[in-house]
Amino acid sequence: MTFNPTDLLAIAPEIAVLSLAILVIMIEVLISRSEEVLQGITAIGLLAVMAVSIFVRSTSANVFSGMVANDDFTMYLKVLLTGIALLAILMSKDYLKGKNFRVGEYYTLILLATVGMMILASSTDLVTMFLGIETMSIALYALAGFRSECSKSNEAAMKYFLLGAFSTGFLLYGIALLYGATGGKTNFADIGIAITAFGGDNPAPAYLYAGIGLIMVGLLFKVAAVPFHFWSPDVYQGAPTPVTAFMSAGPKAAAIIVFLRLFGWALPDMSIAWQPILGVVAAVTMVTGNIIALSQQNIKRMLAYSSISHAGYLLLAVIAAGTAGIRSDAAAGMLFYLVAYYLMNMGAFTVAILVSRARLDGDYQINNYQGLAANHPWIAGAMALFMISLTGIPPTAGFFGKLYVFSAAVKAGFIPLVVIGVLASAISAFYYLRIVVYMYMRPETAESSKDLKPTPAWKTIMIVCSILIIYLGVMPGMMMKLADSSSQKISSPNRVVTLK
């Protein structure tokens, strides 16, 4: 354990976001409680963090004794996570108006959750992984209950906190067992090496399997995969909508990435044990998420179930990563998918906020979308694009995301799973396109002819998301190249992966 000052450069984005969080909370309590000032500082700060993530690099390959990854893949993830926070903050701008929220605390919590997500996405050690998960989750528990006057929001925070704390227990127990089974290793690379020693006369101890299973439970809870998904619809519905958008994109991305790193890079030699289990979980997640989403009348709940099913598609990439030779394909596919998913989900939630705000009771019923296209052709068009992209129909980013993830799974030989995935996407077309049908083919109502008054911030989000979705859908080449080249270089331990 030696400390090298240049190691700090590798976590410069995390340090920058943390400093920004402290700055924002201090400005709120000491200088100004103006929403514009706090929002401006947070947004500009996050743009600076993006620049820091791209340009400030450490040359050291072994940062903090290998506890944190320092490679292009991690850099893209940090940019992506900062982007998620940035859009969430932009989305919150007008949402918070007149809600009597403490804006500074709200932005600070989003920033702190982002720090946790960044640590999580760059962790290559069980300790940093746990640290990241906790930093992220604690901030999210508070954010879920931010509408303290609303009982649904309190319910969301309570459910999320109790179940989240419980799942953390599973994760921690799994980490302890893995630590014991590998002879005191916490580093992903070291765990991988320790596991290669098992086999033949020296079989892996039973508690190694138990440890892997328990870690799997903890992480599956964080990505909201069936059967650990029960918290997600209630929490998504109760949380303030920008927070829901943030939660559905950020923590899911961070958790699935650490899932990929841990299982693909540390435990590939155990893939005989975990691939079938994860395969069943992925299949059940894709099917259940999509089927329950069919009957939802509330758009936030519908998007919650949709995000459950998207976790299932993402799990396909994790499963594929367990097969030698497919790892970097799977990682690249996942990176592309995460970008696409983030854009379409953020866009869809923005439209959801707009539509619900125009109503007096501010509810999120799907009926509110009836005849939206007649008065708001642009908003309806954007929503239709997000829905088509979520379904995975070309030419949208969602199509290529699914294509790359599914093709990695096919290459790894999981053809039945891919068939289930494609069939599940076909089911999902029903509820995604139902919204399009409502908007374009139903007569308008008194409610839907009201002016939605999109503010510049919301317009910006919708325009940026739409343009990028179409861009990635028509010309996915550049993004795919970035994802590919960065996935090739995921800092890998100095060892040869042997196929058993």
Partner: protein
């Protein structure tokens, strides 16, 4: 093993002394009770009336959790103080960063008025 015999002896003597003292005071000590003396001891407060599952202010929890935070801060300071010379300048800077972040938290608490008892 024999090295620990004195410890065992001490434990036996202590147990005997405790039991003996309790027994002696119980049997030969005078008993003058009144209702106040019979109350359960709750750190000087009046005991919680009736069912212990009564509602009380959430403020207690806030103060308690803040106590834990700063208590843990001090717990982290001890090992640093013991190893002060070995950790050197790097340790000092590291600790100052840690204290600074907690100081910000303290400032936040004060400005929010969390510690004002209404």
């Amino acid at each position: 093993m024999i090295d620990y015999f004195p410890v065992l002896l001490l434990m036996v003597i202590v147990a005997f002394m405790a039991a003996a003292l309790l027994a002696i005071t119980t049997f030969i000590g005078p008993k003058r009770t009144n209702p106040d003396k019979e109350l359960p001891f709750e750190t000087g407060n009046l005991p919680t009336p009736g069912n212990a599952r009564a509602q009380f202010s959430v403020h207690y929890y806030l103060v308690a959790i803040l106590f834990v935070v700063f208590d843990v801060e001090v717990a982290f300071l001890y090992p640093w103080a013991v190893q002060f010379k070995q950790l050197g300048l790097f340790g000092l800077i590291e600790m100052l960063v840690f204290l600074f972040i907690l100081f910000i938290g303290w400032l936040f608490i004060i400005r929010r008025g969390v510690l004002e008892w209404k």
